[in-house]
C-alpha cells in the first residue's frame, strides 16, 4: 500500500506523468470549458453573475480591504480545490489533492498572491509588513510566513489523504457498504477544506494589502516630550 506517492499513469522516457497531472489537467479543461459555455448562455450567465456578486459581498464582510481584485483568485481556488477534492468520489480516479505536490503548488500560489496584491496595493511599502510591530520581529515574521505556507499545503494534503486511507482501511476490513458514512464525512471535509483554503488565502493577502501606514504617529507617541 503506497499511500503517499501518486500512481504513474504514463511513462515518457525518464519522466513519469502521474495521475495528479492527468486529473488536474482534465479538471482544468472541464472547468474552463464550463465557464466558456455558460457565459455564452443568457440565463446561465445571469445566474453566475448573481453568484459572483454574492461571493463578493461575503468576502467583503470578512476583511476591511477592497476585495474586488481578489474575488477571481479566491473563487478560482474554491472551485478548483472543491472539484479536485470531490473528483475522488468517482471510481478509478483518486482526488489529486492527496498528492503533496499539488497542495504545495496551491500554497505557493497563495504565498505569491500575498506579495503580488500587496505590491499592487501599495508598492514596496507593503514590505513594511515584515517589520511590524517593530524590526526585532523580522525573523519571526519570516518564519511565520514560511510556516503558514507549509501549513496551508499540509492541511489540505493531510485532510484528504487521511479520508482516503480511512475509507481504504474500512473497505478492506468490512466490505462494500460500510464506508459510505465515512465517505459522506469525507465530502464534508472536502467542502470545508476548500472553503478554508480560500478564506486563509484571502486573510493572508488582505493582511499584506493593508499594512498600516501609521509608523510615524507611533514613533511620535513613543518619543519623550
Amino acid at each position: 500500500m503506497d499511500a503517499l506517492t501518486p500512481q504513474v499513469w504514463i511513462q515518457v522516457g525518464p519522466l513519469g506523468i502521474t495521475e495528479t497531472v492527468v486529473v488536474t489537467a482534465g479538471l482544468t479543461v472541464l472547468l474552463v470549458g464550463f465557464g466558456r459555455v455558460f457565459t455564452q448562455i443568457g440565463w446561465a450567465r445571469d445566474a453566475l453573475e448573481v453568484i459572483y456578486e454574492m461571493v463578493e459581498g461575503m468576502l467583503q464582510e470578512m476583511v476591511s480591504v477592497d476585495v474586488k481584485p481578489l474575488v477571481p483568485l479566491i473563487l478560482t481556488q474554491w472551485v478548483f480545490i472543491l472539484a479536485a477534492n470531490l473528483v475522488g468520489l468517482l471510481p478509478i480516479v483518486a482526488s489529486p489533492t492527496r498528492d503533496l505536490s499539488l497542495t504545495a503548488a496551491l500554497a505557493v500560489i497563495a504565498f505569491g498572491a500575498a506579495h503580488v496584491y500587496g505590491f499592487r496595493a501599495q508598492g514596496f511599502a507593503y514590505l513594511r509588513y515584515y517589520i511590524q510591530p517593530n524590526p526585532i520581529m523580522l525573523p519571526f515574521n519570516l518564519v511565520g510566513e514560511l510556516s503558514r505556507t507549509l501549513a496551508l499545503a499540509l492541511r489540505l494534503f493531510g485532510n484528504m489523504v487521511s479520508g482516503e486511507i480511512i475509507a481504504a482501511i474500512v473497505v478492506s476490513l468490512a466490505g462494500l457498504l460500510l464506508p459510505i458514512p465515512l465517505m459522506l464525512l469525507d465530502v464534508l471535509t472536502s467542502v470545508v477544506q476548500a472553503y478554508i483554503f480560500g478564506v486563509l488565502t484571502l486573510v493572508f493577502t488582505a493582511s499584506a494589502m493593508q499594512v498600516a501606514t501609521k509608523s510615524t504617529p507611533d514613533t511620535l507617541q513613543g518619543s519623550p516630550p
Binding site: M1, D2, A3, L4, T5, E61, M62, A151, L154, R155, F157, G158, N159, V161, S162, I165, V192, Q193, Y195, I196, V199, L200, V203
Partner: protein, 85 residues
C-alpha cells in the same frame, strides 16, 4: 533473531500510533474550548451567529492543522520511512 531493520519497523509502527494519540490531545481540547466559547457567544448574540460560525470554522481548521501535522508524521513513518529500504 531480530535484525535492526525489524526493530526499526516495530519502533516506527508503535511511534506512529503514539504520535497520533499524543498529538491529537491538545488540538481536541483546543477545539472543544473554541466550540464552547462559540456556543456561548451564539447563545448571547444569536444575530451574530453567521459571522461567529464562519470565524469558528476557520479557527478550528487552523487548530486542527496541529493534529494533521502529527498525522502526516505518522503517515511518513508508516509509508515513507527514510530509515527503511
Amino acid at each position: 533473531m531480530m535484525t535492526p531493520q525489524d526493530w526499526i519497523t516495530i519502533v516506527s509502527i508503535v511511534m506512529a500510533g503514539f504520535a497520533v494519540a499524543v498529538g491529537s490531545i491538545a488540538p481536541a481540547l483546543g477545539e472543544a474550548k473554541a466550540l464552547t466559547q462559540a456556543m456561548d457567544a451564539i447563545a448571547r448574540q444569536p444575530d451574530a451567529a453567521n459571522s461567529i460560525s464562519r470565524t469558528l470554522f476557520v479557527g478550528m481548521a487552523m487548530v486542527e492543522s496541529t493534529a494533521i501535522y502529527s498525522l502526516v508524521i505518522a503517515l511518513v513513518l508508516l509509508f515513507a520511512n527514510p530509515l527503511l529500504p
